[in-house]
């Protein structure tokens, strides 16, 4: 309202100015008429008086306009100051009434981003912040609904994989069992038939491996991948895994060197699962390295951990593949994997298993020179983790 006063003041000032200029112009015109009469010598006394009167008149007009201008300026100034003060006060009030809801929103966004999908804000205050708060709550509601749907789909997927791998196991048992039975009577088979049965067996074992890997992965996703840790010696475990792999390594003429530090401390580990990880690493070395490659297993104590390295002098792993090597379905390059087979799940599962043991697994490689996979397992009984 006070700002309105200032506007009125300015308008009045402009009007006064206009009036003053019009009056002054009329006064000049009258003086000119009087001066003409004076020059023509008509009623000289009256003409002289008129000239003086018009000059006096303009003086009065000037005095009048300056006093009016001063008043108007004062009015405008007062109006402006009052207006600005009012606006400032209003603005401060507005800001403080917006600040609280906005701070709440920032806070709630942080919690929502952090995964707390139950987060909602109190809706109220100015209509703008109330609308914002309402929109935020709707968004949170939607996010929560979608997260719920996704969780349910995940559970259904896990259940499906568990059921499917269970149901596939029975027919596979028959196929593998009867193929083995045929091979028991190998002498009655022609060489071609024996070879055929071996192909069936190879593929069945591959299917079983794939099934086991998928099952482990589904269990891991469902939080049902479990380990049964017990006090055990790392040396025996490593020797076990190497024994399992001996025939395959020999078949490719690969030399295996074992370098185990004497008196390794006991670790707390699920023997079957750690053997599975070691066999997986050795299988990868065996399959990806050429005939005659050198493969080594080294184990030593490092602080409160046992460190096991599986080293090969094979083709190595390019850097961009190395980054993703522990992700599921991450494989060597296409040409290699055609030859190698495997599921692309072994390392992902190995990582899950080592994580469950409270250990770490990592890989280093120089293309053309070879790769090293390193496992570290804690020696102290501090990792009685039953499930992730």
């Amino acid at each position: 309202m006070l700002t309105g006063l200032a506007v009125i003041g300015v308008a009045r000032f402009l009007q006064q100015r206009q009036d003053y200029e019009n009056a002054t112009a009329r006064s000049y015109q009258r003086e000119i008429v009087a001066r003409n009469r004076l020059a023509q010598g008509r009623h000289p006394a009256a003409a002289r008086a008129a000239v003086i009167s018009q000059q006096r008149r303009r003086q009065e007009l000037r005095d009048e306009i300056s006093s009016e201008t001063r008043d108007t300026a004062l009015l405008v100034g007062a109006g402006l100051i009052a207006g600005l003060t009012g606006a400032a006060l209003l603005f401060t009030g507005l800001i403080s009434s917006m600040r609280r809801p906005l701070e709440d929103l920032v806070d709630a966004s942080g919690r929502l981003a952090g995964g707390d999908l139950d987060t909602r804000v109190k809706v109220g205050g100015l209509s703008e912040t109330a609308t914002l708060g309402g929109a935020f709550n709707e968004m949170a509601e939607e996010l929560q609904r979608r997260a719920g749907e996704r969780d349910q789909l995940d559970r259904m997927k896990d259940e499906f994989v568990l059921t499917a791998s269970h149901e596939l196991r029975s027919p596979l048992t028959s196929v593998q069992g009867f193929a083995e039975l045929l091979l028991l009577e190998r002498e009655k088979l022609t060489p071609k038939q024996a070879e055929t049965v071996e192909v069936i067996l190879d593929n069945t074992r591959h299917l079983v491996r794939l099934l086991n890997d998928l099952l482990d992965l589904a269990r891991s996703d469902a939080g049902r991948l479990t380990i049964r840790p017990e006090q055990t010696g790392a040396t025996g475990l490593i020797e076990d895994a190497v024994r399992t792999m001996r025939a395959q390594l020999d078949a490719r003429g690969q030399e295996l060197s074992l370098e185990i530090e004497p008196d390794l401390p006991q670790i707390e580990a699920d023997r079957d699962r750690i053997r599975q990880v070691l066999v997986n690493l050795l299988t990868n070395a065996n399959e990806y390295c050429p005939q005659g490659a050198k493969i080594g297993v080294k184990a030593r104590r490092v602080d409160a951990e046992v460190e096991i390295d599986v080293i090969d002098d094979g083709p190595g792993i390019p850097e961009q593949q190395l980054e993703h090597i522990f992700e599921r379905f991450s494989r060597g390059d296409a040409g290699e994997t055609q030859r190698v087979g495997g599921t692309g799940l072994g390392l992902a599962i190995s990582k899950s298993l080592i994580d469950l043991h409270g250990g770490t697994i990592g890989a280093e490689s120089t293309p053309g020179e070879g790769s090293t996979f390193r496992i570290r397992l804690p020696t102290i009984a501090s990792n009685r983790v039953e499930a992730i």
């Binding site: 149901e167 028959s174 069992g177 039975l181 269990r219």
Partner: protein
């Protein structure tokens, strides 16, 4: 050689098990569900070993075993399961199970286990 009662709801797997076990010289009887197991076990003259599929329609291997144990049958038992270790859930400690065999069956391991139990 041992007298073995095997139970599985798959006729194919029964045939496979029977063939392999008989080739090893064992005497084999079969059942296709848990009720068949309960019916075929004579408490007075039980088999040497029971080889039971954990999951069968109707009465499961575990249910049948529970009944037999309640009736005082102390025959050693191997449970065959499509699940690998870890999904067997509870260990059924009260049922005195002597071992789990997972599918596909590793026959060498099975024979070794049977030899151990038949002693």
């Amino acid at each position: 050689m041992a007298k073995i009662l095997i139970a599985d709801d798959s006729e194919t797997i029964l045939l496979l098990l029977r063939t392999r076990l008989e080739m090893e010289g064992h005497e084999v009887a079969t059942a296709v569900d848990g009720q068949g197991v309960v019916d075929k076990v004579d408490a007075a003259n039980p088999p040497d070993i029971l080889l039971l599929d954990a999951m069968m329609p109707g009465k499961s291997g575990i249910d049948a075993l529970r009944e037999l144990r309640a009736a005082g049958v102390e025959t050693p038992v191997l449970i065959v399961s499509a699940h690998t270790e870890g999904d067997n859930g509870t260990d059924h400690a009260d049922l005195a199970i002597d071992g789990y065999i997972s599918k596909p069956i590793d026959f060498e391991a099975l024979f070794a286990k049977i030899a151990e139990l038949a002693d």
